[in-house]
């Protein structure tokens, strides 16, 4: 059930990122795509009825590993959130420059370059 919802979130984000013309809408689209990917990573490590991956002293590691959720994707998500934060911050900073330079945030009116 969770995976189709992640796919929906992903495509909502991609829609905003690729189709919307407003700079802020594009940034929000990227943020939504990032959330979808982070959610995917957490969902991969999840296990029904699993317990938090914290080993208490004296516990048998094998029994612990059999009952806890996978901690590795959670570590990946932490890294990925930090990277996402950096990217969105940089995007917002560049968006402010764009507004300063062009006086608008409509990407269809920013065409000094011809790709």
């Amino acid at each position: 059930m969770i995976y189709p919802l992640i796919a929906v979130l992903l495509f909502v984000g991609l829609y905003g990122l690729l189709v919307k013309r407003h700079v802020v809408q594009k940034i929000l689209g990227l943020a939504i795509v990032e959330y979808a990917v982070n959610l995917l990573l957490v969902a991969i490590g999840y296990r029904d009825g699993g317990r938090p991956p914290i080993l208490t002293p004296g516990e048998d590691p094998a029994a612990f590993a059999a009952g806890s959720v996978d901690p590795l994707p959670q570590a990946l998500v932490l890294t990925s959130i930090v990277i996402g934060l950096g990217v969105v911050m940089l995007l917002v900073a560049i968006a402010m420059r764009l507004h300063q330079r062009f006086g608008t945030l409509d990407t269809t009116r920013m065409n000094r370059l011809h790709g």
Partner: protein, 509 residues
Amino acid sequence: MVDLVPLFVAIPLAAAFLCLLLKRFGDRVCGAITLLGILAVLGLSLTAIAVGTDAVNMAGGYGVTMRDGRPFVAGIAIVLDGLARLFLLVVAVVGTAVVVYGFRYLERSTGRALYHVLLNLVFAGMTGAVLAGDVFNLFVFVEIASIASYALVAFGTGDREVEASFKYLLLGSIASLAILIGIAVLYAAGGFLNMADIAVAVREGRLGGAALLGASALFLFGFGLKAAMMPFHAWLPDAHPSAPAPISAVLSGLLIKTTGIYALVRVFFTILGPDPRVQTLLLVLGCVSMGAGVLLALGQDDLKRLLAYHSVSQMGFVLVGLGTGSALGVTAALFHAANHALFKSALFLSSGSLERMTGTRNLSEMGGLARRAPWTAAGTIGAALSISGIPPFNGFWSKLLILIALFSAGLPWAGTIAALTALLTLASFVKVQRKALFGALPERLAHVRDVPASMHVPVLVLSALCLLTFVLWPLGLGDVVQGAAATAQSADGQPPAIDSYLRLVLGRP
């Protein structure tokens, strides 16, 4: 050597933070730190080549005993093998030239300390990416280099710069997220992030089917976009020319190779093993990149845009070389990637010199500059002859090897496109030389003077390396390139040539 391997990443990272901390003491201090840092990396990479042994460093790892009594080290693997040695050498050589060039080029810019911080972060990201032993770390280092490069494209803060940076950032982020989803899919299916573990699982058939196919498609898109493979190239002709010249040289010369080509080789040859479907796609998209890239370059009047389209085209040569899947093709592709790093960074640096002399990037407004600026002209001509494939310059040898690999692999159509592209590249650079360096000197430019020595010497050194490649090849360069190709793939890919890598990382016989 094992203990020295983390320094490849630690030195540029430390240099970046030192630059930020010591900013108040002036940007000369930052420049000195950056230069010392990249010289140290150059020394280390030459040492690594002289020692020649592979090394695995488990940074921050700790030993545990598995239930079957086997010792196992949990940690982040940093792997120095043949492929990494080649790319580290290229990064260090081009990086040194760029840092030296940047001192005088940026003397009138503001924010030079921050430029050095970001440049060091790009270096750290690139060296980290080529040394990473697990796919997630590869992703993290590619992101470090990419994010710093997005900011560097916007360094000029003009209309074009911020617009190009915004486009580049959005497309680059989509590529990065595709790579991350690919990693998630691989982990969900196999339970590993370590490249060697994934490679074993693929070879033993435990990892395959739809998950492998999906991850391959995501990696091909993600790393293909970073390598400016058509049809994912649209950001490059905007982003590379918008950056300051030394940064253009780093982006076109190094970044698209370390975060694009290197990652494609590592993922598709070392980890996932040669797959005929992937190779066919690389061949077709490589041919499209070669042909369309050079055709778009022919119509350009803006020198830096022209060079950027040639980067797309030349990456096409590398991709078709990889697409053959043969030992010769992979060797030729890696050789061409290294050669392209030398001559394209030289060309971007000299485009910066020409722009500074004339105040324009439009070829139609230049002319006769060879008489006014003989040193810059000499460096430019050397690099232009290399990219055009004139013997004995390095571009000739690697293009010849790619052509031989294509025809001997029974792909005459790809070989024909490559040969035509090489001819059109020559035509394009004949135009550049005729318009910019020879012909009549416009009245306006009658009194221009050559750029200072610290700007033309790096270009001359890079061009000299292009010229002397055929001398350096028997003196050790050949071993480095062939060693890199051997790590990527053993003779003709049968069996999937990850044995040496697996032996190295997992300690298996």
